[in-house]
């Protein structure tokens, strides 16, 4: 029984033997992307889960060329890698960065913005687990409203994070980037197709992939893929692309599943009151109104 998606990517494993937690969504995103890009991908990883679990000397889990960058400098190091290899006459390679949500939306946003501005020929993949998971679950700019982290604890007065999630996809698109996309590890064929598409495009590419963290989200290790699917099905995340100045929605759920069912499955949202869930549902509906107005469906 042939699987078209599995046949379209390399059979080699390029991220193997790593020390990520069981059921890690981030490692699934990195593994799948590297299998698309092949042995000539040069990956750049800032401080974060994937560099912490991938480079434990002498256990080095990337089978392609990989380097750890400064926390803020993923995109600028990608620029250097791409320019350096090009200057030395290499043609068949892809410079790809894997940064977490903190490394992208908070600490690395300036370097990313600069790289998009220069239109360097790189792929930047943000695996979004919605907090600084590597250092022990601190709030990042991409932590959603209501989520409990160690820096936004849930008390009787304030129920976790009080700020909504930053919209990194549209921030990247606002630079008039050649290609930007959102994805989820729950819809892996869609993510793989987007990495494939990005590798064919000249200029800066940004892919934002939701990668649940069982440890930080408070779900079972085997729930990673299901919860990544459910966040799309309930409308709190969407699969879209930005290309040639237009937004395009790739996946339109016929009917949204229950938001509170999605939230209550996770330890980080379990404290939410009905009022908080009302706020989250209202912000979802507002977002989808915007999508229906401005995105190609």
């Amino acid at each position: 029984m042939a699987n078209k998606v599995a046949d379209s990517i390399s059979r080699e494993e390029f991220f193997y033997g790593h020390k990520a937690c069981a059921g890690c969504g981030g490692s699934l995103a990195v593994r799948a992307a590297l299998k698309v890009l092949g042995p000539n991908a040069v990956s750049v990883l800032p401080a974060g889960c994937m560099s912490a679990v991938g480079f434990n000397f002498p256990q080095l889990c990337f089978s392609n060329n990989s380097i750890i960058s400064t926390f803020a400098g993923t995109a600028s190091m990608l620029t250097g890698v791409e320019a350096g290899l090009r200057a030395r006459g290499y043609k068949d390679f892809t410079a790809v960065g894997f940064a977490g949500d903190g490394g992208t939306a908070d600490i690395g946003i300036q370097a990313l913005s600069g790289a998009i501005d220069r239109n360097d020929n790189i792929i930047y993949i943000c695996y979004d687990n919605e907090a600084y998971m590597n250092t022990g679950i601190q709030k990042s700019g991409l932590t959603p409203f209501g989520a409990k982290t160690t820096t936004t604890p849930a008390g009787s007065n304030i129920h976790g994070n009080i700020r909504p999630k930053k919209n990194m996809f549209e921030i990247a698109a606002a630079h008039d980037i050649p290609y930007a996309a959102t994805a989820s590890v729950g819809y892996l064929p869609d993510f793989i197709a987007k990495v494939q598409k990005a590798s064919q495009i000249q200029g800066t590419k940004y892919i934002h992939v939701i990668a649940p963290c069982p440890t930080g989200w408070g779900v079972a290790p085997d729930a990673t893929v299901d919860i990544a699917k459910e966040v799309v099905d309930c409308g709190l995340w969407y699969l879209a692309e930005y290309e040639n100045g237009t937004f395009k929605l790739n996946h339109k759920p016929k009917e949204f599943t229950d938001v509170s069912a999605y939230l209550k499955k996770q330890g980080r949202f379990r404290h939410l009151t009905d009022e908080d869930i009302q706020i989250i549902t209202a912000s979802r509906d507002k977002k989808w109104e915007f999508i229906k107005k401005n995105f190609e469906l």
Binding site: M1, E13, Q59, S63, S66, L188, D222, A223, V225
Partner: protein, 97 residues
């Protein structure tokens, strides 16, 4: 296909690289001690659809003779494969010593 595991050896001081680069895909230890449960594939039911191979975060599942096969040296027992399998050909069993 995965990188092979090297014979574990202690590095003497002179062998530790002086700069910050080292060979890629250099494995010295396995992860198998992490599991409390292990996935077991039912060879009769498995049709080799490769969904488990696609979704495994550790990439430990490969297809051998049209059936899924698990590399127990590196499987962490997360159970994603058992959940993703539509025909329930993978079952999680308690790890035995």
């Amino acid at each position: 296909m995965r990188p092979y595991v090297r014979e574990k050896k202690d590095f003497s001081f002179s062998e530790v690289p002086e700069n910050t680069s080292f060979e890629a895909g250099y494995l010295t230890t396995v992860n198998s001690g992490w599991r409390s449960i292990r996935p077991v594939i039912n060879g009769v039911k498995c049709v080799g659809c490769e969904q488990c191979y696609l979704y495994c975060p550790d990439g430990v599942i490969s297809i051998k003779d049209g059936k899924a096969a698990i590399d127990y040296d590196f499987c962490k027992g997360c159970g994603i494969c058992a959940k993703i399998c539509k025909i329930k050909a993978i079952e999680m069993e308690a790890e035995r010593k």
